[in-house]
Amino acid sequence: MSLNNRRMSRRNFLKGAAASGVLLASTPGVSFAEKVSSIHFLRRRAQIETITILINDSPWFPGFEALVKQYVETTGNDVKLNVTPFAGMLEKSRNAVQGSESEFDILNLNEQWYMQFYAGGLVTPIHDINPDFELDPNVIEYDAATRWDESLRYSSPDGALYGLPINGNIQLFFYRQDLFDEKGLAAPTTWDEVESIAQTFHNPPGMHGFSLRTIGGNWEFQAYLHSYGTSAVSLDLASGEWMVGLADPGAVEALKTWLRLGREYGPANINAMGQAENLALMASGRLAQVHMVGAAAPNYDNPDTSVVVGKMGAGVVPGGPGGRATLSGIWVMGIPHNLSDVRKASALAFLEWALTKDAQLYYAQSGAIPVRQDVYEALSEDPKLGWWMKAMGESTPFIKAQPRLAETPQIVEVIDRRTTQALIDELTPEEAMAEAAKEIHQILVSGGYTVKPLA
């Protein structure tokens, strides 16, 4: 059913008017013409239906839930949440887009699999729903995670807009500010400084100088790769050829640094450290420094689970000879292809509202990770959140993308397996990177990409 065929009820008109008011009030920097265009769109799709969002039960979920409640109260539009553990998100998302009509109006897509939905046309390009849609420049696109270029088969800034970011997860470097202050130390900017500081504090089992993630640790390891001037895979935009960076000497150096920091300054069970284990170690006051997901920050401020409340500092992830890098691990929200126009418009109405500055400020204060640069800047002096919001804002220029290909899950599986094989001494660092490079090269060749031969 098209939008124009539906009669506008009084209730729907009021909903549209309320949504328009919210948009006007929350976008002070937007020009009058843009406001009129957006209001026109909102009026046109005032027949807003109840939407259902597939959302993961992650640590930032309470913030998202609060944001949804605020949306419902502000606009009168109804939203249902289908809260699912992380492990079931991909399957539920896939099932939703395979039927004749999706049960969900919005899918929350992880950075490691969103490309399967973009490339397959399983989510709707935003401009197909609203040709006048303009993304506020303050919304961070996380190295074009929102876009897909069909000709390149890759996310590029020139690609079409397919998804809108909802969770700005990037990596941060966390450290014990109180201990650093006692020793007169500043936050490290290089891995060498990290090691030097780790030596100062390392006194196991009561205190570990540093720790890293080794279960599913490819995400953090890729920051090491970038800091040594390489990456797992990269696209040469000029030639259109793909390159596997793990065969570079920088990759071996990155792995050696990763191994040395983990083995020498990490806990004895470094082979089995996931995010939860690192978080527990820091929250229990037994860790001086850790490189992990920025979303961990609110956990350190929770007096029920943390003994380091008010003692933490955060900064940009340190770097190496190739500079500094923080990998994005964000979530984007996509609107399934198999929805009616009304449902698509209703879903987009929510996302547009959720990305406004006021909504994002509320979202951040409710415990989630915002996706707007102006919100990070506004909160950088906040007495409660400022200690890590400032670091999030400062990290924006260093954001690097993970491999964003349909084959990404295969690629990261190889990185995880080979790095841990090096960690448990099954392979030398040279062997681990060489084997990983061969496997990833084969994955790309089998996927039909033009790939430069390995050196």
Partner: protein, 309 residues
């Protein structure tokens, strides 16, 4: 003419009726066969077809493309599959043997208990009633190197370097086997207890009167009589152990490295995480084939034992 035609028609109906009556046993099986064909053969056929194809979602539609034996080439280069197969076989052998021996011993002991027998039966059944996800979560906490109760106890007892359990590549699979034994021994205990309690105890009494020791009674009389029960119990447990997933997924995720990777977990990763449906289907088929070999071997053993009794 009309009368002849009617007669012919009547004869035809009688023949058809006789044919149906004589072969009724086969017709009666037809609904079941059709049901099986729809629920079993069709999905297996689709899996077979998928294993020779690539399936991708393009523009919202599932597009199958025939790739012939390409996935077999992928299989021959896949470095994870040999590790996963080896770990699966080690896991199956270790868990089934330990659980079989413990299950039988417990069954014999409980069958001899007269007071509070109901209590022991209930207690030994508890692990079977707990959802595997809860068991894995519980053991993951217990195995934790820093906070787990097992290492806390070992440190109290004087251990200076307690085991790393799931973090140690040499101990990771063994750690999962321990959890599996804790969980599934009660399953074998229940089956074997039913077998032990149905034994003709007068044979044992007669042997004892003739001077047989207790060990001889169990070894020479009861154990041969229990063989069919043991074989069926071990066959069921082997099939279940081959499909182990939840415990490995939650306790080790297949690591460190590939030290505890098993075939079911790898099929899950390939099929659902990596979205390689064709290759995943091939791995699933291979798993099913290997399990079929086990089932056939057990069936042969069972019929052999029955013949030699």
């Amino acid at each position: 003419m009309a009368t002849t035609a009617l007669r012919r028609s009547g004869t035809g109906q009688r023949r058809l009726g006789t044919f149906l009556d004589q072969n009724f046993k086969y017709w009666a099986l037809l609904p079941t066969l059709l049901f099986m064909a729809v629920l079993t053969l069709y999905p297996v056929g689709q899996l077979l077809r998928l294993s020779l194809s690539d399936a991708q979602f393009i523009k919202g539609k599932l597009v199958w493309s025939y790739v012939g034996l390409d996935h077999f080439t992928t299989l021959s280069h896949d470095p994870v599959v040999p590790d996963a197969l080896r770990n699966t076989l080690v896991f199956v052998a270790a868990s089934v043997i330990i659980e079989g021996v413990l299950g039988l011993l417990l069954a014999v002991l409980v069958s001899r208990v007269r007071r509070f027998a109901w209590f022991y039966r209930s207690v030994f059944m508890i692990p079977l009633l707990i959802p595997p996800i809860a068991i894995s979560a519980m053991w993951r906490l217990m195995y934790d190197y820093n906070y787990g109760i097992i290492n806390q106890i070992l440190i109290e007892l004087g251990a200076t370097r307690p085991p790393l359990w799931t973090a140690d590549p040499d101990l990771a699979l063994a750690s999962v086997v321990i959890v599996d034994v804790w969980h599934w021994t009660s399953f074998l205990f229940l089956i074997m207890l039913a077998g032990v309690e149905s034994l003709p105890h007068e044979l044992g009494e007669a042997a004892r009167v003739d001077g047989a020791s207790e060990i001889q009674v169990y070894r020479r009389i009861f154990l041969p009589l229990l063989r069919p029960t043991i074989i069926v119990a071990l066959m069921l447990r082997t099939i279940l152990a081959f499909k182990v997933f939840d415990q490995i997924f939650l306790l080790t995720g297949g690591g460190p490295g590939t030290s505890s990777e098993v075939i079911s977990l790898y099929v899950y990763k390939v099929f659902f995480v990596q979205g390689r449906m064709g290759y995943g289907a091939l791995l699933a088929l291979i798993t099913a084939l290997i399990m079929s070999v086990f089932v056939v071997a057990y069936q042969w053993l069972n019929s052999y034992v029955n013949k030699t009794r």
